[in-house]
Amino acid sequence: MAEVGVGAPGASAATRPGRSSDEPAARQPRGLRSGRGRERLLEVCFLVPAAVYMVLFFGYPVVKNLMMGFQDYTTATFFTGEAPWVGLRNYSAVVGSSIFTKALLNTALFTVGSIVGQFVLGLAIAVFFHRKFPLSGVLRALLLLPWLIPLIAASAVWRWILDQDNGVLNRVLDALHLTSSHPGWLTSTSLALIAVIGVNIWIGIPFNTTILYGGLQDIPEELYEAGSLDGATRWRAFRHITWPLLRPVVTVVLVLGVVYTLKVLDIILGLTHGGPANATQTIATQSYNLSFSQYDFGQGAALGNILIVISLVFAVIYLRVNRRAVDE
């Protein structure tokens, strides 16, 4: 696996291939003078802080979590220091729980719904902004705002917008005579997941738009000119020129979207706290609940590990995509 990575950094720097051949030659004499070993050691030192940090704040938690998944790790552990090994009991408890199936389904619906919504709307807005018009730059910058503010601040305002009795959404729906029944967007078990997905789409649109807009800008204008001579305009131009050339960017956006959406916690905790009756409970929020509401860190870890496995499947896709993007 290390070999895969080693190729990547070299290929990404445009200057690299030409340099790597003459670099050793340039370094050799100086190396001989001042001690090549010392030079190497100094170079390694540049990497040390980052490597140590990655080990402590990513490596250690993953290993620790894997172990905790097999342990009876509760608040008592913090007093006694004992966390007896229980084999697969945490996993069987977590998977056997009635919430698990629901959380798994919710996670899938939340992820797919969010990604599809963010992507389709993000792409449509990116295409809209692709050809400049007065104020387009300012408007594009403003679009980023929802993505830059703290998620919990966004959740707070949506909580109030979606409020059943006094929320502005229901008041507007009322005024437009679309519905007068005042749906409980966050309190009804059948609507809460839809509402949470809607808010998450709103948060994700800026990111999708910005990346896709960048991808669109990279498509050479000549292609559209050539295409228009062949009669490819509008939809046909989009299908035959834009879409194929945008594909690599699309893949990156989608995979990153999935990976990020799987771990979303802020929005759900802020809007519904997983409720009502677990209607918006996902694997991530349930893992949080087990650890930090029920103080069963072992079960929380077990569920967290299941989430890692799901993410890893996409990680493999991501790395392959990334590698392809880097190779180009």
Partner: protein, 289 residues
């Protein structure tokens, strides 16, 4: 962007149609654009609107704050100023830690041919897949043993877990385009590896450093998960947790909740206004690379 503007001059005859087409982008595009952004930003307007309403009048909030009131802000400042300060200290600390850790690594990864580079890059990419809750779950017990729960340094270090990988990826991409001859020239003049780094590499990479700092600040400022899990008392309480506590109970005074949300969102607004080009660079740079 530059390709599109440079094109008409270079392509000649067939391009004559293009500028005509481009300039013909009609005025209604601007109208549609404004309506679209207005719709998308409506929740933020609503946040501001409610924050300026008198306390208690949140039922049937008027579309405009006709009875302009800053009571919400007064309450918010009274109750949350300590939390805002905590957030500011944690975020700035996180920026410093991230820069110190990420910048040399990014440089080494882009310019040195070391065996560890590939492993580290691989680890960074993989780290993006690790859910925050997994990290929080394990850090909680470690922090408990180390006495780092409810501490500013604890939060700074945990919050840097977003900024460090991001900063390394972003700055590595940028530093990869520094011509090695620049550094080589300094070395020939007798500068050591470390002096070359400080006097050549860092000044050239200024923009990447700024972008990476801005995003690290926003990540830490908006952090909710670590604030929620790694603090258990009121001593150290970032602003995000202050908002969460507000909405965790039955809310009777939405104007002060929204005032707090507005204050918490101000950092993003300020950065977007004053550092827009860095923000735009960060969104694309850190994610695609």
């Amino acid at each position: 962007m530059s390709a599109a503007t440079a094109l008409p001059a270079t392509v000649g005859a067939p391009a004559a149609r293009v500028p005509e087409k481009k300039s013909r982008r009609p005025w209604w595009a601007t109208v549609v654009g404004i309506l679209l952004i207005a719709l998308l930003l409506f929740p933020l307007y609503w946040m501001l609107n409610v924050s300026l309403q008198p306390a208690g009048s949140a039922v049937d909030t008027p579309v405009l704050p006709f009875h302009l009131s800053f009571d919400g802000y007064r309450t918010a400042i009274d109750q949350q100023s300590q939390n805002l300060l905590t957030s500011l200290v944690v975020s700035l600390g996180s920026v410093v830690v991230s820069l110190v850790v990420a910048t040399p690594a990014a440089y080494a990864m882009s310019q040195f041919r070391l065996r560890g580079v590939g492993v580290l890059l691989f680890a960074i990419l993989i780290s993006q897949m690790i859910p925050g809750i997994v990290i929080a779950n394990a850090l909680y017990s470690a922090y408990n043993d180390l006495g780092l729960l409810n501490s500013i340094p604890g939060l700074i270090l945990a919050d840097a877990s977003a900024g460090i990988p991001f900063g390394i990826l972003l700055m590595r991409a940028y530093m990869g385009s520094i011509p090695p001859s620049l550094v080589e020239a300094a070395r020939v003049d007798g500068a050591g590896q470390i002096r070359a780094f400080f006097s050549i590499v860092l000044p050239i990479s200024r923009n990447a450093l700024i972008t990476s700092s801005l995003f690290t600040f926003l990540f830490a400022w908006g952090d909710f998960l670590f604030a929620l899990t790694l603090t258990t008392s009121d001593d150290v309480r970032p602003i995000t947790l202050g908002i969460y506590q507000y909405i965790g109970t039955h809310v009777s005074d939405w104007s002060s909740v929204m005032a707090t949300a507005v204050i918490a969102s101000l950092s993003a607004v300020v950065l977007l206004v004053f550092a827009q080009r860095f923000i735009a660079a960060g969104v694309t740079g850190g994610s695609v690379k």
